[in-house]
Amino acid sequence: MDKINLKSTLKLILYILVVTYVVDKVIYFSLNMLSDKILSGQAVGKLNHFITVKDSVDIVTFGNSRTNHHINPQKLSGSGFNMGADARSIAFCATLIKLLPENKEQLVIVNVDSKNVFDPKYSGIDISPLRIRYHRSKVIKREIDRVFSFDPIQNFYWSKGYNGKVLGLFKNYFVPKYDHTTYYGYDPIYVNETQREIFRNFLKNPKRVECKEEYVLSDLYKSYLDEIKAFCTKNNKKLVLITAPFYDDVCKKDNQKMKQVFEEMQFEYYDFSDVFKENNKIEYWKDDVHLSDEGAQLFSEILNKTLVKK
């Protein structure tokens, strides 16, 4: 390669790098401005809403869809916000818990399901939706770097954090999904007749559950639990672990093991898996793991009686 070619090639590469870097930052900060105004929608709005209210609420609940659809914060004694969302596990929850204000008295409720607690392959990948705030929060950056290997592209092109979310942002900016002023993070499930019929048919021939003989707590899961326990103890928060109800919780060894593990780790833990067992109704359920609004309201009252009034 001669010097002239080398020079012009390097120049082209440099131009592309500089221009893309600058344009990326313009896009990134514009999307930040837009995103900050969005307080509805599961991908971005709910996270923004949480960040807005996290310093003022007394009770925050974390977990997956079984938190999101099962706990109505308005049924709890105190102002609350439900930060549960589909497919989230402890990495996502622990990161958000670490964003809670220091030295403010708060009740932190985390729903834990044995499927995740004892998953030997648990890798913390559920933290992924927080990438959107990778460059805006040291806590989030640290936690994401801990789960994913170093991503030079994400560190050069910040807008990569908005991957796949741009259309949703615009949609929720112009047409908000709901009125956030009356939203507390709880998404009720109203079951129609077709869904109920599907569930009835499912119950006639339920899927076979294979119960394991042994359950081992995942190391990564344990480290997150240790960290949030330390954070809550230090910052005047009461941390409670719960397991939300199931329609028919066949396996029991996992519940026993969870109870034993959390006792050893000195967590306050309540297992509500069978809370409806004695008085179960199909109207309480959308499917075998998700409560309908009717069931969720009832469960929220039970939870409140157990926790808040205790």
């Binding site: 390669m1 001669d2 070619n5 012009s8 090639t9 120049k11 082209l12 131009y15 592309i16 221009v19 893309t20 344009v23 990326d24 896009i27 991908a43 991503d151 030079p152 592209i153 092109y157 807008s159 990569k160 908005y162 991957n163 796949g164 979310k165 741009v166 259309l167 949703g168």
Partner: protein
């Protein structure tokens, strides 16, 4: 190693710098050979032995064919080359397929056959480099090419990493002379290469992978979907596979250009075709020309009468289908194309114009769409279910699933098609476009594509054609 991986992002610049620092093309070839083997070994180093075996058999065969004074001697060495290469392909790619088919056949007449299948992994790229290396010995046998004595050049020709695992299938007559002579760095080629790589990445990880999410969801459980959903999913698949494979080819061609090599075009806007005949001149061109030159013509082409011509067309397409994968679905896919090509041959023998005018676009796309059902479905039963469901004419609202993903897919697909229209209207080849742009335009294009990649890429899957 995948082109759209972080490893490649580190691997390629290292090879590029090292390669162009060296002045001597023989030293550059050594860099290319080592880096190609590293590229392949990244997937599974054990299968390097297969490439080395094929390469050495054909290196020796080539020299021996040339040195043989008699036709029998030449033929003997050609047969050795064919048997070795096709033998490997038969074992690694087709053994289990034929063993299963044999067991099924015996089952239908009431004979229970023990499980004959073997636990074999399909080596990545075996179909591509086998065809590439076969073309070398066949060309020498036909007296169309002189063998090389430089073993490094030959090994580099077989294993050259931009096209090693999924083509384009470059003939020795095009690539080997380029390997054997000094390459000079051309700024124009650099611009063309960078531009084509970026377009390829956009086509692959933005368009194809986003479309793939919807297609996978529908084809995973076709029984529960209505006709409109299945038609939509098949329509999406038509573009998924096009942008997946043409995107791969773009990256391969662009990468080679950055190293001073010019590959042939592999896709030329195939959905803008007025007949299946035209489609095959534009789709996976390196394969279709290979099949034409080494299979169709070897079978007699159109020189032995009309009936033999139809037979040859069908046979070529059936085998072309089987080349893609060891499943009856691929055979049927080839059969549909073979049948359409034969029908066209018959109709065109009466027509002055060798196409169907504007209606030809629609006819061609429908035939291609139908054939993609067999290509995408995992087995014959599923294909039959899909065709039956589509023909039930249950054209209610299609299943949308993840609305955000479908919206992104449609938007990016429109951008992709719009870009193809632009190329068609401008009457340029994508391969040359980057070199025709001013620096400002090139930087603007690159910036736009990189931003689209950042904001809309989908979690990457393997390139579809890797499995072939």
């Amino acid at each position: 190693m995948l082109f759209n991986s972080l490893e490649f992002l580190l691997f390629f610049p290292t090879v590029f710098i090292l390669y162009w620092i060296l002045k001597n093309h023989k030293q550059q070839n050594i860099v290319l050979l080592i880096s190609s083997y590293i590229f392949y070994a990244w997937w599974d180093w054990r299968f390097l032995s297969l490439i080395l075996f094929s390469s050495f058999v054909d290196y020796v065969s080539g020299l021996k064919i040339e040195a043989s004074n008699t036709q029998t001697g030449k033929k003997r060495w050609l047969i050795i080359s064919l048997c070795s290469n096709l033998g490997l392909l038969a074992i690694f790619k087709y053994y289990n397929f034929f063993a299963n088919s044999f067991a099924d056949l015996m089952g239908t007449v009431g004979w229970q056959v023990n499980d004959l299948t073997l636990n074999i992994i399909l080596p990545v790229g075996i179909s591509f480099y086998t065809f590439q290396t076969l073309s070398y010995t066949i060309d020498i046998y036909r007296g169309q090419f002189k063998p090389t004595k430089d073993v490094i050049s030959f090994l580099t020709y077989i294993s050259f990493f931009p096209q090693l695992v999924a083509g384009p299938i470059e003939r020795a007559s095009n690539l080997l002379p380029q390997i054997e002579r000094k390459r000079t760095f051309k700024k124009q080629w650099f611009n063309e290469g960078v531009f084509q790589i970026l377009v390829g990445l956009f086509r692959k990880i933005v368009i194809a992978d986003n479309l793939g999410t919807y297609v996978d969801a529908v084809y995973f459980n076709p029984e529960i979907h209505n006709s409109s959903t299945l038609v939509l999913a098949t329509f999406f698949y038509a573009f998924q596979i096009y942008y997946d494979f043409s995107g791969y080819s773009d990256i391969a061609i662009g990468t080679a250009k950055l190293l001073g090599f010019k590959f042939h075009q592999n896709f030329n806007l195939p959905y803008f075709s007025k007949s299946i005949t035209e489609f095959w001149r534009k789709w996976h061109m390196s394969l279709s020309f290979w099949l034409r030159d080494y299979l169709y013509i070897s079978l007699g082409g159109n020189r032995k009468g009309i009936k033999i011509t139809y037979r040859n067309l069908m046979l070529t397409m059936l085998l072309g289908g089987l080349w893609h994968g060891s499943s009856w679905n691929f055979v049927i896919w080839g059969g549909i194309h073979g049948l359409a090509l034969s029908c066209e041959k018959f109709i065109f023998s009466f027509k002055k114009n060798k196409d169907f005018g504007f209606l030809g676009y629609i006819y061609t796309f429908i035939v291609v769409l139908l054939s993609w059902v067999f290509f995408r479905a995992p087995d014959l039963g599923t294909s039959a279910t899909i065709i039956k469901k589509i023909l039930s004419f249950d054209f209610l609202m299609p299943f949308i699933g993840d609305f955000n993903n479908v919206a992104i897919s449609v938007l990016m697909l429109l951008l992709g098609i719009g870009f193809d229209f632009y190329i068609r209207l401008k009457k340029v080849h994508l391969e040359d476009l980057g070199g025709q742009l001013s620096t400002v335009k090139l930087v603007t294009f690159a910036t736009a594509i990189i931003m689209l990649l950042n904001l809309f890429y989908s979690t990457s899957n393997n390139f579809i054609y890797f499995q072939f």
